[in-house]
């Protein structure tokens, strides 16, 4: 499942664990990312995405396990200017204009990009002369993106980069992101937006309760979980009996309409017709990534509502 990382080493997280008090945030997490890959860390709130990213950035020290970034530990990679990070929070420094803050950030790196190039790339050129304390949420997000990019890092880590941006801004953001990923950078982003992971990542790493529960291209993730949904009309159906059918993972009833999520729809439909010959208006459909997501993080009953909302 993990791709060959090649001679440069890529990013390798092995047996990574971190707890906050008695609460485990990340548990024995293994992950290898090849140079040039764009990977989405997808998971509900509290799944351990931010903790994982903070550990890769060297902001949080793991309780156990190791992290190697192009062959060196995080602190060294940061020191070398190989990493650019876009954190979820962080109001920019006061008493500076946007352009100045980017120029200042550029000065920390050995071989930064041009200031104008970065401002243009992130759309921050539109408010380059603005005081950093007078920015909207979306503008602050672009500024953080510009700050992450300006050092021309090989690895970009983005923690929920579109959380504060409206729908249109989000499209622009991913457009810029594609440009940058196209320059051969390794990009890792955390999100709980399924469509973002699906549309912009080469590979999705699904995280739940601090563990990797699925890892692969979006199509593979879908196949790995409930692959089909069967819908039909059935009078007085007993959901428990439906759920007991072979190949069925979950059954739902809304009036006379029944919906079955299946791990194997072929087996399920044969059993369904045999057990409930009255069923009619049958429809079999491919599952969405959202269903796959819910399926794979199934025991997260406390957080699934969050995810459903976030997915809308």
């Amino acid at each position: 499942m993990t791709p060959d990382v090649g001679p440069e080493g890529g990013i390798v997280l092995s047996q990574l664990s971190k707890s906050y008090g008695a609460v485990p945030a990340v548990q024995s997490l293994d992950l290898a990312i090849a140079p040039g890959e764009t990977v989405a860390l997808l998971g509900p709130n509290g799944a351990g995405k931010t903790t994982t990213i903070d550990m890769v950035l060297g902001l949080t020290r793991p309780d156990s396990g190791t992290i190697s970034i192009f062959g060196v530990p995080p602190a060294k990679a940061v020191q070398a200017g190989w990493i650019g990070g876009m954190l979820q929070t962080g109001a920019p420094l006061e008493h500076l204009r946007v352009r100045e803050l980017i120029a200042l950030t550029a000065s920390y790196y050995p071989a930064p990009l041009g200031i104008d190039e970065v401002l243009g790339l992130t759309g921050a050129d539109a408010f380059a002369g603005q005081w950093t304390t007078k920015l909207s949420g979306g503008q602050a997000q672009r500024l953080r993106f510009a700050a992450a990019l300006v050092g021309d890092p090989d690895l970009l880590l983005l923690d929920e980069p579109t959380a504060a941006i409206d729908v249109e801004g989000r499209r622009d953001f991913w457009h810029s992101m594609r440009d940058i990923a196209g320059r051969g950078k390794t990009v890792v982003f955390a999100t709980h937006y399924l469509e973002e992971a699906d549309a912009y990542a080469d590979r999705i790493v699904l995280i739940a309760k601090g563990r990797v529960v699925a890892d692969g291209p979006a199509t593979e993730i879908k196949a790995q979980a409930a692959s089909r949904t069967i819908r039909g009309t059935l009078r007085n159906a007993d959901p428990a009996a439906l759920r007991a059918l072979p190949g069925v993972l979950a059954a739902d009833r809304h009036g006379d309409a029944v919906i079955l999520s299946c791990s194997d729809a072929d087996i399920a439909i044969r059993a369904l017709l045999a057990a409930f010959p009255d069923i009619h208006d049958i429809e079999v459909r491919g599952g969405s990534l959202e269903e796959a997501f819910l399926e794979l993080t199934a025991d997260q009953s406390d957080t699934t509502t969050d995810v459903m909302e976030a997915a809308r």
Partner: protein
């Protein structure tokens, strides 16, 4: 060079904080002119009042300037950008050095303005005496830089400005910065002599009496305050960065 740019922007940011800079620059100057112009020929504490009060007000303004860096680090940290800095190749030490050096640099105009105002009211010192005075003040300010860091790391940001202001005022009151001494002898005077601000104010008298700098007692007081506060600042810093 990266640290040069960082330093330049640090200075720029402090200068743009006009209210803060206005206080360190204008307040002591106005106090000096207001109080000392009526007492040009008075003597105080064994020296001329204008020399005494010029030194005191120079110390007052520069104390405000040098407690600034700690507060600024704390404010940057509270805004969250410190985490962003930690994932760049910038070293925390460079940031800290830039803040301290720019605070000292910003104290220089305060000193120069007070010196000019002092000269206007009849203070006459030789070039080497002006330099010695400046040197003694710079050294005596070190504990205040560290106090800024200790409070900056320990206090909630909202309470920081009044707390630092209050600390400077207390040290000033007990150190004789306001142009009067709370005691001339006894236990209270012993307390006063144990404060770095007391010796800072004495620097003016010290350079004209030509005793070759402060008495040993002054150096011990300043060194002791620094030695006690530095580990406290380091501890507070570590506690703070673990949390950030």
């Amino acid at each position: 060079m990266s640290s040069a740019t960082h330093f330049r922007y640090e200075l720029l940011r402090t200068l743009r904080n006009r209210v803060f800079y206005g206080v360190t620059l204008a307040l002591p100057l106005l106090l000096f002119l207001g109080v000392a112009s009526g007492q040009r020929h008075a003597t105080f504490n064994g020296t001329s009042f204008p020399l005494y009060f010029m030194t005191a007000m120079a110390v007052y303004g520069s104390m405000f300037a040098v407690v600034g860096p700690g507060a600024r680090i704390a404010r940057d940290m509270a805004r969250g950008w410190t985490r962003q800095l930690r994932i760049t190749p910038l070293r925390a030490r460079t940031d800290l050095t830039a803040k301290v050096v720019s605070a000292y640099l910003l104290a220089v105009p305060t000193l120069v303005l007070l010196y000019l105002a002092g000269a206007l009211l009849g203070v006459r010192l030789s070039a080497s005496q002006w330099l010695e005075l400046t040197g003694l003040i710079m050294v005596g300010l070190v504990p205040f830089v560290v106090i800024g860091f200790v409070l900056g790391y320990l206090m909630p940001v909202d309470a920081l400005t009044p707390a630092l202001g209050g600390i400077v005022v207390l040290f000033s009151l007990f150190g004789g910065v306001y142009g009067f001494e709370l005691a001339k002898s006894g236990p209270l005077f012993d307390v006063m002599k144990a404060l770095p601000s007391y010796w800072l104010v004495q620097a003016g008298k010290t350079v004209v009496t030509g005793t070759g700098g402060w008495p040993a007692e002054a150096w011990i007081v300043i060194a002791a305050w620094t030695a006690i506060l530095l580990p406290a600042a380091a501890l507070a810093y570590r506690r703070n960065s673990a949390r950030a």
